[in-house]
Symmetry: C2
Subunit: 162 residues, 2 copies
């Protein structure tokens, strides 16, 4: 009877492999382990971290949550909550709660940024008018510029003073 040559040992990935496949650095992956976000499936005899393919998925998941604005610490809490939920529906309920909160937060951020974008547009529109300004005018004389067609936006007004 031929010894069963550990079939999976062939598909195990070293930390560098994982790094290449995810675009992360080895250091980052080490950090995730320190924070309890990802553990290698096993260690080689010599101590090398050996991962399975799903390690890549886990890291992509982490990345996704980071993009959403979760800190690594929050992600850790996330995992712990999940692990400590006795039943699937309960775990799902918790996840739902967290996602719901984040969704609201994300929408608020979008609203805030939208307002800022508008303000930027207005300031830019105002600045367009400065093209027609006397080319020789010194900047210290600007700020007011004699214009009264509309208000000077705060973004422009603030800098010109002093």
């Amino acid at each position: 009877m031929p010894s069963e040559i550990s079939a999976e040992s062939l598909s195990l990935l070293k930390v560098g492999d994982i790094a290449r496949r995810t675009g992360k650095t080895v250091r980052a992956i080490h950090l995730y382990e320190e924070l309890g976000l990802l553990n290698p499936a096993v260690r080689s005899k010599g101590g090398f971290r050996m991962y399975r393919g799903d390690g890549v998925k886990r890291i992509e998941w982490i990345q996704k949550l980071q993009d959403m604005g979760f800190s690594l610490t929050e992600i850790k809490v996330f995992l712990r909550v999940w692990e400590e939920s006795a039943t699937a529906p309960k775990a799902m309920a918790t996840v739902r709660e967290i996602f719901t909160d984040k969704l609201r937060e994300t929408r608020e951020t979008i609203a805030r940024l939208t307002r800022l974008a508008e303000e930027l547009s207005e300031s830019l529109a105002f600045l367009e008018g400065c093209r027609s300004c006397d080319q020789g005018q010194h900047q210290r004389e600007c700020g007011g510029c004699g214009r009264s067609d509309h208000e000077v936006p705060l973004l422009v007004d603030g800098i010109a003073k002093r």
Copy 2:
């Protein structure tokens, strides 16, 4: 002839006053000065920083730019560029450039967050289906859950594995 009692000395503000009026801390204002973002108009005989009313405006302007995502260092560059522009139109052109860049960046951020919000919504929709899941099911048995009505979103899939 009555000595002209320095009329403005009456309207000068101490750092604490500025702090109260802007909601910033004294430390923050000190920092802004270290970074070259705001200098007191004068110092009292004893060394106290004395500001004029426009100091408040300057801080509000800083706040605005911070909200827009500029770092204090970037704001400093901003001010220097302004001060070093010989002519008003040239200074305005530079400001326009910076604002244009930031506007583009802001819009990109909005787009990214919008996609994330959609992804969150999808994940939440998926999780709604978990309510009907067997109440006694252990979370380890979940993840797949036997459902095949649609794909498990990455946000949900990533956490359930292992």
